[in-house]
């Protein structure tokens, strides 16, 4: 989508034009579905997550972030977060059922190694991650590729939560700069 079209879409969204939401859906739903599916590996769940993301977009359409970041990055992260919430909810449910039935139960949770391999063509991203410090690489791997929360990362790495937050903050800012420079 050209920048002028993207700006027009945001303007129409802010004005409450429902056809703008449909246009946004036509433009971005496929990519959002790919993001959700990559995490959930389930078509129905992915569609529901994408619908939730677009509902959230409508709810926050007047927000400054939508206008600053643009719809595409905003939808990417909101879709990803919604999918992760669904995954974690499913994971918690599975663990409860596992405890109740004391039987082995196969979950739909994706294999992290599989997800990493799905991203192997993103060598640009991998190079950017490789330029981080070892500690920052670890938190990005655990957060981005293994879908861990900050608390889980703190527990896994035996690191104070505040340190994890700071590492995530510095790592993502560094990645943003590196990827922007590569793009430009």
């Amino acid at each position: 989508m050209a920048p002028a079209d993207a700006t027009d879409l945001v303007t129409r969204l802010i004005s409450g034009d429902p056809t703008a939401l449909e246009d946004a859906y036509r433009e971005h739903a496929r990519r959002c579905n790919a993001i959700a599916y990559k995490i959930l590996r389930n078509d129905d769940q992915s569609r529901d997550v994408v619908q939730e993301a677009f509902l959230t977009l409508w709810r926050h359409r007047e927000g400054l972030v939508v206008r600053t970041a643009g719809i595409a990055p905003w939808l990417t992260v909101v879709t990803r977060n919604a999918a992760l919430a669904a995954l974690r909810s499913a994971g918690a449910r599975s663990r409860r059922e596992e405890r109740a039935h004391t039987s082995d139960m196969k979950t739909d949770a994706p294999d992290p190694a599989d997800l990493v391999s799905a991203s192997v063509d993103a060598s640009r991203v991998r190079r950017a991650i490789a330029s981080l410090s070892a500690e920052q690489q670890t938190v990005v791997e655990l957060a981005y590729f293994r879908f861990m929360t900050m608390s889980q990362i703190a527990e896994t790495t035996q690191t104070p939560l505040g340190t994890v937050k700071r590492r995530i903050q510095l790592a993502l800012r560094h990645l943003g700069r590196i990827l922007s420079e590569q793009r430009s």
Partner: protein, 213 residues
């Protein structure tokens, strides 16, 4: 407004917050220009990370490219149309309260004053300045009438100049001073112009530190 969730913005973008914390970050950033800019950067970073990996997985799934929002039995809104009305009503009821603004007109700096009114009522683009000595982003009204600068990683308590190039002529937009922690925000209003270049220079040091493009 809740306290700035500075240490959770990047974690939100990476998906490491729970649902309640995600909602708090989004709702805060909706009305806080400084956090909105930081969050926009974080969203862009994750968006660029996703852009590579999603191509591979997108080829593996079958999905209608242009599925209409209200079509299909699996569509949430088709099953629960009241939800669209509900969120529309909620959105319509939201009022952004703007107060305490004291914007001085002309080419004058108002350091650390957030131009909420300008951001709420305008459409804008933003320019990331690259170079040494810090991170600077300049947000510009699409009509070129105002500039909002957000920076971090600068030398603490240092004075800087922002220059713009318009129609081939470079001119000073104004000065700003970094905080003890090397952060800065500044705001300037001016006549509508199309900016070709931006530069940040440390006062007293003639070399350019950061520039866009």
């Amino acid at each position: 407004m809740m306290p700035h969730p500075h240490d959770e913005i990047e974690a939100f973008a990476l998906g490491s917050l729970d649902e309640a914390a995600c909602r708090r970050v989004l709702e805060h950033a909706d009305q806080c220009p400084t956090c909105a800019v930081v969050l926009a950067d974080a969203l862009n970073a994750v968006h660029m990370m996703e852009a590579g990996g999603e191509r591979a997985i997108a080829q593996k799934i079958s999905l209608g490219d242009s599925r209409p929002l209200r079509a299909g039995s699996g569509n949430l809104w088709a099953r629960q149309p009241w939800r669209l009305l509900q969120v529309a009503a909620i959105a319509a009821a939201v009022l952004i309260v703007v107060g305490g603004l004291n914007i001085i007109r002309g080419m004058q700096t108002i350091a650390y004053t957030v131009p909420v009114a300008s951001l709420v009522h305008s459409h804008f683009t933003h320019h990331a300045l690259h170079g040494e000595g810090g991170n600077v982003k300049v947000i510009q009204d699409l009509n070129g009438r105002w500039l909002y600068l957000v920076a971090d990683g600068l030398t603490p308590k240092a004075r800087y100049n922002l220059f713009e190039t318009v129609n081939g002529d470079q001119r000073e937009v104004g000065q700003f001073v970094s905080t003890n922690s090397g952060e800065a925000t500044a705001y300037w209003e001016q006549g509508p112009v199309r900016i070709q270049r931006l530069q940040v220079v440390s006062v007293g040091t003639p070399s350019t530190l950061l520039r866009w493009p």
